[in-house]
């Protein structure tokens, strides 16, 4: 299913397919016609994706078929071994953790996982963790520090789950603790926003030395829908809220919230999954290579300075 703004692209692709089939069937040479259409398609794609509104980027960030955390763990990394459970309360399927190899280094991985279909979405609670998920992440941080494993966190969540049990079990408390625990890591930490970076639930695994974001991913203090419900008193105004929140990858680089944008293949990650996951791998390997020479003290200091300096204000006149 194409996204609404992808419809013209989809139509043109269908037309090219039809023409190819027709040419084969009729044994005609339509090479130059097809080539012309292909050229139009490329231009259309380029123009469409270069001029997406913020709200359209939100849709791409949430698009069905976009690679999820587990997809990356299986394709971008080698030998992923999942480790389950928070050792306190249970095992939260909305956060997947484990060990894997990135290039030739063992790393601890933490990935927020949305479902790839309805059934999995229900099982994964649409990628919205309970406190247990953050406790599991903190267990990984401990393991990473002890065995000197760099940490890679893949962010993709609408937010931490706002439910009864989550509140009773201290959702706010574990998010705060996870932020603190991650800031104390003595090993390199890299976070990548692969889809949706939803508020505190995302930041809980986002206190890294380097924070990367995919070209069409978003990272926001609040979802456009919730923001619209509060400030416009109408969740239907999400499009306006998305514009106002400046939540796209490029916006966030400007604000200094993220360090690097990972370009997606033309046509976005949900249409070019393997290529997108490969691009993430290249970026992760590069970033890790730059962080590897740093001492634990330098890593701590750099992470402290990175987050301590965020914000905009001026000295009173």
């Amino acid at each position: 299913m194409p996204l609404p703004f992808e419809k013209p692209i989809d139509d043109l692709e269908a037309k090219i397919r039809d023409m190819r089939a027709y040419a084969t069937e009729q044994e005609l040479d339509l090479g130059s016609e097809i080539e012309a259409l292909q050229g139009r398609l490329d231009t259309l794609k380029r123009e469409t994706y270069a001029s997406l509104t913020r709200w359209q980027r939100v849709q791409v960030a949430r698009a069905p078929g976009r690679p999820t955390g587990l997809d990356y763990l299986q394709h971008t990394f080698d030998g992923f071994t999942e480790l389950h459970g928070d050792r306190t309360l249970g095992d939260d399927p909305a956060i997947v953790t484990g060990l894997a190899r990135l290039g030739d280094v063992s790393v601890a991985v933490i990935a927020q996982q949305k479902g790839r279909d309805t059934k999995e979405n229900i099982y994964r609670n649409f990628g919205m963790s309970h406190p247990s998920g953050y406790r599991k992440a903190m267990r990984m941080f401990d393991l990473a520090d002890k065995f000197r494993l760099p940490v890679v966190a893949l962010i993709d969540t609408p937010g931490a789950y706002p439910g009864l049990a989550a509140e009773e079990q201290g959702q706010a408390w574990v998010i705060a603790e996870s932020i603190r625990r991650m800031s104390r890591l003595t090993v390199p930490a890299i976070s990548v926003v692969i889809g949706e970076g939803g508020s505190g639930g995302a930041l809980a695994i986002g206190v890294a030395n380097r924070v990367l974001i995919l070209e069409n991913a978003i990272y926001s203090v609040i979802s456009p829908e919730s923001c619209a419900a509060i400030l416009w008193r109408d969740a239907g105004e999400a499009e306006k809220a998305a514009e106002a929140l400046r939540l796209t990858a490029r916006d966030l680089v400007t604000l200094g919230v993220v360090d690097r944008v990972i370009d997606e293949p033309l046509g976005a990650a949900h249409n070019h999954r393997e290529a997108a996951m490969e691009l993430v791998k290249v970026a992760l390997v590069e970033e890790l290579a730059q962080l590897t020479p740093l001492t634990p003290e330098q890593l701590l200091e750099a992470r402290y300075r990175r987050f301590r300096s965020l914000g905009r204000f001026h000295v009173a006149a």
């Binding site: 931490a160 789950y161 706002p162 439910g163 009864l164 989550a166 509140e167 009773e168 079990q169 201290g170 959702q171 706010a172 408390w173 998010i175 705060a176 603790e177 932020i179 603190r180 800031s183 104390r184 508020s199 505190g200 930041l203 809980a204 986002g206 206190v207 990272y219 926001s220 203090v221 609040i222 919730s226 923001c227 509060i230 400030l231 416009w232 306006k240 809220a241 106002a244 929140l245 400046r246 939540l247 916006d251 966030l252 604000l255 919230v257 992470r303 402290y304 987050f307 301590r308 965020l310 914000g311 905009r312 204000f313 001026h314 000295v315 009173a316």
Partner: protein, 295 residues
């Protein structure tokens, strides 16, 4: 219906805001008793009839906690910006200006040095009457500076939280204040200086999910709403009524999330007591405080 009661209780009430030109008398929002406004103020904004804790202006909070004449303000030197040029029903710049005029300060926070029971502390007090105490860049920066200056000067940190959460109008920069305040608290922790956090009505969202709940000791005021997600958001998500008392201080005490629920009239005494206990352990643990006391 339980839900309606929630909404009624959560709605910000006008009468407790000292700046509003309300009458001499008001009807208690909890017990409906007619109370004389002066009595309410004299009683540290607690209903003399039922003990309901009203939201308290920052200045009254300072008077409640700091030893008389010892408060010396740190905050106020920086002012907020409008990095997103955010505009909903009203431009953020205008909202800010109105709040600044109403509250007479640049943003939703006051910090400063004081003594409590003779002990040197840094006070961080959020102003709920300034854009619902929301945390943007200035609030985050002032908290971070206060924590680090406290560490520098060997003071314990005492924070009084009251906030609707992160300030949406500063977008992801607001979100980042959660990390900023947290990393600044580490500087204090390294010096083994105590941090006491007092959660007051209401403390929600990104403030609860960062520095507010990182206190070595966490107290909460009676009846305070303390949550990650607001009751309305949860109700919309799960589509069922919330149990009575859900997300109130007493409920959180029961769930093991706060050290105690403390009546405002006993708050200073309890904070002073716990600071004394935390700083009179074995000598290696009180280095910072001892140095400060010697100055």
């Amino acid at each position: 219906m339980a839900l309606e009661r929630w909404f009624r209780r959560n709605r910000p009430t006008k009468n407790e805001d000292d700046n509003s030109p309300a009458g001499l008398w008001l009807k208690c929002e909890s017990c409906n008793a007619q109370i004389y406004r002066k009595d309410l103020v004299a009683n540290t904004y607690i209903c003399p009839e039922c003990g309901h804790h009203y939201r308290m202006p920052v200045e009254a909070r300072i008077a409640l906690l700091a030893d008389s004449g010892t408060f010396e303000q740190w905050s106020g030197g920086i002012e907020p910006e409008d990095p997103l040029e955010f505009n909903d029903a009203q431009p953020y710049a205008e909202r800010l200006q109105k709040a600044q005029q109403k509250q007479g300060r640049p943003d939703a926070i006051v910090t400063g040095a004081a003594r409590m029971g003779g002990q040197p502390v840094a006070l961080v007090i959020m102003d709920f009457f300034f854009m619902a105490g929301s945390m943007g860049s200035v609030v985050g920066e002032e908290i971070a500076r206060a924590a680090e200056r406290a560490a520098d000067e060997g003071r314990a940190l005492v924070a009084i939280t009251a906030s609707g959460g992160a300030r949406m109008q500063e977008g992801a920069l607001s979100l980042m204040q959660m990390a900023k305040t947290t990393v600044a608290l580490e500087v204090l922790a390294k010096r083994r200086l105590p941090y006491v956090s007092v959660l007051t009505d209401p403390t929600t969202g990104g403030v609860t999910a960062s520095f507010a709940t990182l206190g070595d000791i966490i107290f909460a005021e009676p009846g305070a709403l303390i949550s990650f997600a607001g009751p309305r958001v949860i109700q919309q998500t799960i589509r069922q009524d919330l149990p009575d008392g859900f997300q109130r201080a007493e409920f959180l005490l029961q769930k093991g999330m706060v050290d105690d629920v403390v009546d405002r009239r006993a708050l200073k005494e309890r904070v002073v007591e716990v600071l004394k206990l935390l700083t009179s352990g074995l000598p290696a643990h009180i280095e910072g405080v001892a140095r400060a006391a010697a100055v």
